[in-house]
Each structure stands twice: as structure tokens, then as C-alpha cells.
Subunit: 327 residues, 2 copies
């Protein structure tokens, strides 16, 4: 019987579980809600789903472990710490707290559990099954509601002394207090500019300053989403295109500073915002190269994830079961 | 007979060579000038010095290899690339070029040669013999004429895909084009603020804007050095103290962003500017913590090198002979 791994991708809205073979085939999947206030209830739901999946695939192989990618997940101690977007991960005071996800799910299922943050899981997925196969040094940037990152150096994920390395979404891109307020408590974080939320914010800001007409003016400014900006840009709207160009410049400048840290062969971009890449790619690459020293100008590849978004996280999380300590 | 290593620290002004035992004792040292225009002549001088040192210590042990720390040195191919401050490392056009230092010195001495950049060598020195012993995740920042860095992750130096990782002196701290011009061609680099040269620049800038009296006004503004600012601060000069406080704030903010990358247990500071630390330490630590997320506030140690400055680089460079691939 072949060995099978359970990969779980936990997001603020839903948790996706899949049974994966060692060669990266997802045999079956289930989705459960993450919108549950009680950790015990969430755990019961998740453990039940895992057991169902194991039963369903029992004729195909033996499940040997669970790998989880989740926001603020710590590989070293198996906890989720202070995740603002996970309802069930709160302390007694109702504020984001510490939950021992790995231990509890192990008890509930009898399977070994390894967890890592969602961007690290995505980086593992790309390296094991996606565009980063064979690349020993790259930086994964996830551009979704927020901005996450996973850093691969010498073929290994960088975890740092406490398991929390790779919070590049919170690098300051507008210093001096003039930047936007971030959920993390700081100001001027990359995440407040180069995420779906950031694009929506830029739309309101640019529409307020730029007198030109735009399709976006037909919408309630408080409800404009990055999808609206994309749709307008597709129709040729100049302001919408400017919003993405601005986003690209901020992101490209930040990428240049990341290169100075770990000198990656490639930067891999992933997540919902990459669907709009035709409108920010060129400005991003130009800003990155303009802010790099001679040795790196034109040398760093920009790659876009080749995996289906929902699959990448499940595949990456499941790969921890095969090689727990390496990428 | 015990094994001995030759450690060489190459700077723009001089090159220091030492014979080092495996337990980190420097048996003898020589210094030669780096102010030579011809690469062949510089190489002859350096090789001659190495041979002299080997002869002098022949009764104490057998020299088994050479380790070199030098600006812009690339561990992977043994070259020095585009080092603006090394006269002999220029191309036929007189501009900074590529020289094959490791290969040529190996031919001239018959010894194996390994090279790495000077900040990486200092990081190796601290981890092998200094304050970073036993620390698997730290960032070494050298605050000298310029700002260099060496990043240790999972106990290994981060080299990146091309050997040039760790150029944190050129991370942009004043974006948008308003920052100071750096030697690397970019603007707003950390190096233009948090180095000896940066402090001198800040002195001129702050003296020009702040009407208060200062001991520094007795000096020719164009000739003020960071040493002058230090001397004035020691005498209680308020402007001089403000100059260091400003430096500390810029540096601390940058350190916070470095933490978000590799989450080090400690940041180790090294180099001439650390002599003035009593005047910038508190502001630096405050700015770092103010710009860190909750998980890291108050968690990152700031350490100062415990090795004599000239020794650290020689020790770090020599340690490559014992463990070429690891720190």
C-alpha cells in the first residue's frame, strides 16, 4: 500500500483538506468552515473531516501524517499565535491568543501533525511540485488579502530562532509615520499597499486626489474592491491602471530590498492579486531593478505560481509529512 | 604537528594577515598596504607575506590553508567583483572590475584559498570565537566606513544563489529619491546614515538646520568626522548627542525590518562606530522595538562584538580553513 499524506490549508473563511500521494496527486478534498468561535468545536469538525478522508481513501493507501499551513502557525512548537483572522484562535479575553493546534489534532486523529505558516506551506508546494522545482534560493511572496512570505535559502525554509521568520508583508515601505495603519499595529507595512486590501485603499486615495474621470467613480468608494479595480483596468480605465502601476512600484522597491538580504535566484509570486499582474508586472520589475545594485540588475527572475491556488497550499502542507525538516 | 590556518583581512587601506591555531590563537601577524594599483604587484606582496608567516611558524605547526575576508568577495567563485575601495581590483578601463583572487593566491602560495566578504568573515569570527558562540540565528552588522552584514540562519551563513547575499547596508531607509547618494549608485541606503561617513554627513546636515551652539561649529564642516562628533558628545555637546540619536533611530528602524526577514535571536554589532554606542544604543533599541510586531517586541538581543576589531576578521577568515562550507 502506498503512503498518503493529509494536507490542510487553513484560512480565515474556510479550511481545505486533501489526501495527497507522494508524487503530488490530490486524491480527494473537503472544505469546512473556519468561521467557528470555539476552538473545541473547530477541532472536532476538522478531526472528523480528516477521519472521513482517511476512510474514503483507505483502499488507495495508508495515511501516515498531517501537514497544515495556517496564518501565524509556528513550526517549532505547533502553535498558532495571535492570528487576528482566525475566530477560534482567541484567548479567554476574546483577543487573538495561543492555541496548540498540532498537539490537539494529533490527539483527536492519532496521526502525526506538522504545521507551518501558510506562505511557508505555499513555498514548499512550489519547490516540491511547482515553478520553483530545483531552485535552492528563492522568496515566495503571497499577495492575497494580506501579504505573506516564505524564504528558501540553501534549499531550506528560513525559520529563525522562534519559527516566525519571513514576515515580509510587515516590512516598512513608507517610513516616518506617514504610512497606512496595518492590522499588525505598525504603520506603512508592505501589506497595506501590495495586497487586495491595499489596492482597494489605493483606489480610494487616488480617486480622491486625481480629478480625471474613471469607471470606478460609479461605485461606492467605501466598497471598491481590488476586483473592481481589475475589471475597470481590463476595460482600459486609466485611473485603474494607475492604481496597479502604483502598487507595482511599491512592491518592486520592496522586492529589491529583499534581494539584498538573501540574494534569491527567483522571487515567486502567488495569490489572488497576481491575477492582475498584466497591470503591475512591468512597473514592479522596473522598480525592482532601479533599486538594485549593478551585480543584481536584470539578474533576479520573477516567477508566478504554476499551481492552482487552492492546490498549492494543500500540496505544500502535505509535503511536510514526507520531509518534515527540509523543504 | 598541529594544523595552522592563515587568516587575511583585506581592507581598502591595508591587508592584515595572521597565523591562527584551531582554538583561535593568533600566533603572529603582518600588515601590508592595500594601496597598490597593480593586481600582480599586490598579489606578489601578499603571497610573500604569507610565505614569511608560514616560515616563521614552521616550528609551531603546518599551514594547511588560507581564508580571506574582503569587500565584495564571492565565496562561490573566489572572485572579488566591483569593489570600489580596492585599487588593485580594477579592470583595464580603470573602473572596479573582477579579479580572481583565490585562484591566483593559490598558485602563488601552493595553499588552498577560500574567500568570503568581510562582514561574513566577521560573523564567522563571532560565532566561532566571540559573542555569538552557540547562536544559530543571528545577523552581524558591521558599522565602519560603510555598513556590511553577514546573516547566519540555522547555523549557516546565507550566501544566496550567487554568493552575494547580505548587502543590508544598501537596503533603502529613505525611499522616494530624497535619500542620500550612496557609492553603490542607489539613494537612501542605510550605509549613507549608519556608518562613520553617514554620521559625518548627518553632522553637516543637522548643524545646517539647528541654530543651537555646538563644539562642532569650531571645525571646518567639510572635515567633520564621526570621531569629532564622538569627542563632542563625550564633552556633553547636545547637537553631537542629537546626531547619534538620529543615527540610532534610522539604524533601529532598519534592524526591525531585518528581524522580519530571518527572525534572529540576536543582532551583533561590530566596527568602529560601535565605540560611540553609549550615544546611540538606547534610541536604536527603542526604534527597533517600536517597529516590531508584538511577537518580537523586547525579544531580540543586541550584542556588541567581544573580539578585538583587527582580530575578529582574521579569526573569522581563518575559520573557513577548518569548516569551509559551514559557519
Amino acid at each position: 500500500m502506498q503512503r498518503l499524506a493529509i494536507g490542510i490549508d487553513i484560512g480565515g473563511q474556510s479550511s481545505k483538506c486533501g489526501v495527497v500521494t507522494e508524487d503530488g496527486t490530490i486524491l480527494c478534498q473537503s472544505v469546512v468552515t473556519s468561521l467557528i468561535d470555539s476552538f473545541d468545536e473547530y477541532l472536532e469538525l476538522l478531526a472528523g473531516t480528516v477521519k472521513d478522508l482517511v476512510r474514503k481513501t483507505a483502499d488507495r493507501g495508508v495515511a501516515v501524517g498531517i501537514g497544515i499551513g495556517a496564518p501565524n502557525a509556528n513550526r517549532l512548537d505547533g502553535t498558532i499565535r495571535y492570528a487576528p483572522n482566525l475566530r477560534w484562535a482567541r484567548g479567554a479575553d476574546g483577543k487573538p491568543g495561543i492555541v496548540h493546534l498540532a498537539d490537539r489534532l494529533k490527539k483527536a486523529t492519532g496521526l502525526h501533525v506538522r504545521i507551518t505558516n501558510d506562505a511557508n506551506a505555499a513555498a514548499r508546494g512550489e519547490r516540491t511540485y511547482g515553478v520553483a522545482r530545483g531552485i535552492n534560493d528563492f522568496i515566495m511572496i503571497t499577495l492575497g488579502t494580506g501579504v505573506g512570505s516564505g524564504i528558501i535559502s540553501h534549499g531550506r525554509l528560513v525559520y529563525g530562532h522562534d519559527g516566525f521568520a519571513g514576515e515580509l508583508g510587515h516590512v516598512c515601505v513608507v517610513p516616518g509615520g506617514g504610512g497606512r495603519q496595518c492590522n499588525c499595529g505598525l504603520r506603512g507595512c508592505l501589506e497595506t499597499y501590495a495586497s487586495a486590501t491595499g489596492v482597494a485603499y489605493s483606489a480610494r486615495e487616488i480617486l480622491g486626489m486625481d480629478p480625471r474621470d474613471s469607471l470606478l467613480r460609479r461605485l461606492d468608494p467605501l466598497k471598491i474592491s481590488s476586483k473592481d479595480v481589475y475589471d475597470a483596468a481590463v476595460k482600459g480605465d486609466v485611473i485603474a491602471k494607475d492604481i496597479f502601476a502604483f502598487t507595482g512600484r511599491i512592491l518592486g522597491r520592496a522586492l529589491a530590498d529583499f534581494v539584498k538580504f538573501s540574494s534569491p535566484q527567483a522571487i515567486v509570486l502567488f495569490g489572488g492579486l497576481t491575477k492582475s499582474r498584466e497591470f503591475f508586472h512591468d512597473e514592479m520589475v522596473k522598480a525592482m531593478n532601479d533599486n538594485l545594485m549593478q551585480i543584481w540588475k536584470g539578474q533576479i527572475q520573477i516567477l508566478y505560481s504554476s499551481l492552482k491556488e487552492s492546490d498549492a497550499a494543500i500540496l505544500g502542507a502535505s509535503s511536510m509529512v514526507w520531509s518534515p525538516d527540509e523543504v
